[in-house]
Point group: C2
Chain length 329, copies 2
């Protein structure tokens, strides 16, 4: 199971708190009530060494430093506004004018601290592994021709430990996560399993995210798809949309359905996300709309075998090193 968690954590590209932490939170949510002091200044002794990453759009920061002489990582994220608090919020905030022009004015607002809390996670002691995980890694766009795929990417995939896909096989064989299945079509050629993605907490449909994992065992990625897979892809498109409509009342025209290339694991799977949610990983540089894939295969059975594909790779990705060794980046 540890392997599953690690593998899936890798799918989180924007440094969100990991599943592991989230899971642990559920297990021991009430520790605070077991005699811990209400308020602490434990970070007053924290000495910053470096900012590992800083997501300014999301107001989230990962900081490496020391706490009582131990390596530690502090993760802070500002919290969304809470509608219920707005009246108290407005009553008790002060504003400093920045500029005023016509009907527009801008201010710096200072809110009461209890209405403007910051979600904070402390990892202490932190290991080298934590530091690498939280460190923002640069990405480069890689060009992969048909020849590059055959001589670089395919040998790379084939060298991977097949055990790393065990968690996928467990799902397909109903040895794990049976209770999470949203829909299943058992056909060995055109069938699939539909499950919530681990990044989705299933609390609201706003950020709906499901994954369809195909039953055929020999399709690694987009590169393996040919016209013979059109029935499989159409089946997933139609039945996946129908299952989501039935379970979550979200119609097909509110869904973004796509594949990743490169994928994070090499057993074909398809992403279903809410169109209204700006899902990490739905960018044009990595995602391929299922509707486009089907049309491309209809007009050219070997479209994805011949095509030069472009995708971003992080510099700490082993595939990136492999391209680099081959002199292709």
């Amino acid at each position: 199971m540890a392997d599953i968690v690690v593998k899936r954590e890798l799918e989180s590209e924007d440094g969100e708190l990991s599943l592991k932490v989230k899971k642990r939170k559920v297990i021991s949510d009430n520790v605070g009530e077991e005699g811990e002091p209400e308020c602490q200044k434990i970070l007053s002794g924290f000495k910053t060494s470096s900012v590992l990453s800083d997501y300014t759009r999301e107001k989230r920061i990962f900081i490496h430093g020391t706490l009582a002489d131990q390596d530690a990582v502090v993760i802070m994220e500002k919290t969304p506004f809470r509608e219920d608090d707005l009246a108290e919020f407005f009553s008790n905030s002060t504003l400093k004018l920045d500029m005023k022009n016509d009907i527009y004015s801008t201010y710096k607002l200072r809110a009461p601290p209890h209405l403007n809390e910051i979600k904070t996670t402390v990892v202490c002691p932190a290991t080298e592994k934590h530091l690498n995980k939280y460190k923002r890694q640069e990405s480069f766009l890689v060009e992969e021709t048909k020849t590059d795929y055959e001589s670089i990417t395919l040998p790379f995939i084939e060298k991977q430990n097949t055990f790393s896909l065990q968690w996928v096989y467990n799902i397909l064989q109903k040895k794990a996560e049976v209770e999470r299945i949203v829909y299943e079509d058992p056909d060995s050629d055109t069938g699939f399993m539909l499950l919530p993605d681990f990044k989705w907490d299933q609390k609201q449909v706003d950020d709906l995210y499901l994954i369809a994992i195909v039953h055929p065992m020999n399709i690694k990625s987009l590169r393996d798809l040919t016209a013979e897979h059109i029935p499989l892809l159409k089946n997933i498109w139609q039945k996946g949309q129908a299952a989501i409509l039935e379970r979550y009342s979200l119609p097909a025209n509110k869904l973004r359905v796509y594949l990743h290339y490169q994928p994070s694991y090499y057993h074909l799977h398809i992403h279903f996300t809410n169109l209204g949610y700006d899902t990490p990983g739905c960018g044009v540089d990595r995602a391929h709309l299922l509707s486009d894939v089907i049309q491309n295969l209809q007009s050219d059975p070997d479209y994805y075998k011949k095509r030069t594909l472009y995708f971003p790779l992080r510099v700490d990705d082993k595939l990136f090193s492999t391209f680099k060794e081959a002199g292709r980046v």
Copy 2:
């Protein structure tokens, strides 16, 4: 010029503060020093009517209400963490434990208000137009076949006021924004102008965003492209990348180069953005990689004339209404 601003504001899809406000800010940045009171509680009298939109990922909210009996919109956005403030921040914050397990612990942190300010904009009095602009509109995925394009979209485009493209012609004829040109190729068949997008403040390369506007006057969008345009597209790709490398030292493998369909205006233009920046509008549901477009036209000269294309449209988009009237959504 008013028309330019309005048109370009429409390109901002996630409700960011408009160019208009940003521009005005520059003009009158120092009003606060001209005798305005330092701190105010002007929002203590604000009465919330409704939340127009709430961007929880970005911690930004648009609220409609009344201020001294006038309609007003309050826009608040939490600010990114500031590295320079971290030491003072840690010294003076208190933490309340949520959970502790092994090396992980999570807290709610309360920071000194002056280190945790909220950027606030007040629009007062606000008009119906403001409310509509700031209201989050639902989007639906629209399917556009070749026939839909010919019978719905093309007549819609042709009915548009040609004056709405005047700002593009002004740029191409060097009647406006001459000082903003980053690169220009004057060839009437394969040439283009490269300029910073208005959404980019040009302060850092991290969120670099430029637009290449083509010189040929008769290409409305992706739908008009055929094999004859391959030299134009290749020229933009190569010279655009070279110009960005020279001016901003950002190499081609750090760039995401794409077209929008539907575009926000119907004169062909191509987006160059920093691959490392999660640009709004780079999602697979609206963006088409230039490298894919070129390859698709190489293998099928009429690829984009025949293809069924999918794209999201906001319900308040006139094109959406046109599709609806035609019974296609």
